[in-house]
């Protein structure tokens, strides 16, 4: 998945199972492994019987799309490639090729039968990574946490350093950060990044650099962080309407929505 996985509070046997889980997910869902099921599905198009694991992740991705009103869309593989992210991130080099634009594709899931519209390519990386964190946490028998590239879920309290400085204590649930400061590259002289705006089919022009959200699970936090990033100025209110704490970093300034402030700012206790 192109990220470091940190696990705390696990036995050697549980660590092996966590490692096996991430290796399995990478083998099935990598966009950069020719033999992955994701690449076979994308190449074949049309209707296809997929594995139970694949169907489960597509179902989670469709839930994300429904919950975010189409912002977090699993069918943005083609626009991502058109923006130049067509190989492993570490192999990307600046290119003079013009940036293409492509619209979200069409997708339907009937049990384990997946139907992709013509030209549709799936990118399930975000959902798969966050779900792997949540499922890895369930493999731990006691308190601990699992973090994959900075997206984490915990059982028990853990202090977490935040982008741009500062820290917060995650008491329960998950914390995820989405943004454009790390996975970015140059194409036709313009900076590109991996968070595609489904409305334009191009990397989002959001004013945020990084958005951190706390959710009941790592998957919820990751999906909400991506949606809040893509919504730009409306992101903080969108999170507040759902009671989700969010922290936004942009132009060197930090903005916390009301739910975040209510969670982390010290409050005076009323004495009666």
């Amino acid at each position: 998945m192109g990220c470091d996985v940190v696990v705390e509070g696990t036995s050697a046997g549980q660590l092996e199972r966590v490692q096996a889980l991430f290796e399995e997910r990478d083998a099935v869902f990598s966009r950069f492994r020719p033999d992955s099921e994701l690449n076979r599905v994308n190449a074949a198009g049309g209707a296809r019987l997929v594995s139970p694991l694949f169907a489960r992740m597509v179902e989670a991705a469709l839930w994300a799309r429904e919950t975010t009103g189409g912002l977090v869309d699993p069918t943005l593989g083609a626009p991502l490639e058109a923006a130049g992210y067509d190989r492993d991130f570490h192999e990307l080099t600046p290119s003079d090729e013009p940036v293409g634009a492509s619209r979200p594709g069409s997708i339907s899931l009937f049990g384990r039968v997946l139907v992709l519209g013509g030209g549709t390519k799936l990118d399930l990386n975000g959902v798969v990574k966050a779900a792997a964190v949540d499922e890895s946490l369930s493999l731990l028998s006691g308190p601990g946490f699992v973090s994959a590239g900075g997206d984490l879920a915990t059982r028990g309290e853990v202090d977490v350093a935040l982008p741009g400085g500062g820290a917060v204590r995650l008491v329960a649930g998950g914390l995820a950060t989405s943004g454009r400061t790390k996975r970015r590259w140059l194409r036709a002289g313009e900076e590109q990044h991996h968070l595609i705006d489904p409305a334009s089919g191009r990397p989002s022009a959001s004013r945020w650099e990084e958005v951190t959200v706390c959710g009941a699970t790592c998957l919820a936090a990751d999906v909400a962080a991506k949606a809040a990033f893509l919504l730009g100025d409306d992101g903080p209110d969108w999170l507040d309407e759902r009671g989700l704490p969010g922290r936004f970093l942009g132009n060197g300034r930090t903005l916390q929505n009301a739910a975040w402030r209510a969670s982390v700012e010290p409050r005076e206790l009323a004495c009666t």
């Binding site: 202090d159 204590r169 008491v171 998950g174």
Partner: protein
């Protein structure tokens, strides 16, 4: 003489065909009746059409909506042991 014998043979064939029809009918009725009795009386038999063990649609939609609920944050109380960052 021969004609009378032929008539008896035809009549016998007709009686045999009728008997076969009646016996077949009785057999079919008996089969259906015993199947119905088995359905009604055998303890392990389905009394109603089998339905998938799936929760009601309204319940599923509530659960899906709740998946986007918040976790719990608090002010930090020590040195961070992990960092959240964009990957």
């Amino acid at each position: 003489m021969e004609r009378a014998a032929e008539t008896r043979i035809v009549a016998a064939r007709r009686r045999a065909a009728t008997a076969k029809l009646v016996l077949g009918g009785i057999g079919a009725v008996a089969f259906v009746a015993s199947a119905a009795l088995a359905r009604a009386a055998y303890p392990g038999h389905h009394k109603r059409a089998v339905e998938a063990l799936s929760p009601p649609r309204s319940f599923v939609s509530i659960v899906r909506r709740n998946q986007l609920e918040s976790g719990i944050l608090a002010p930090t109380q020590g040195d961070p042991s992990v960092v959240t960052k964009q990957t």
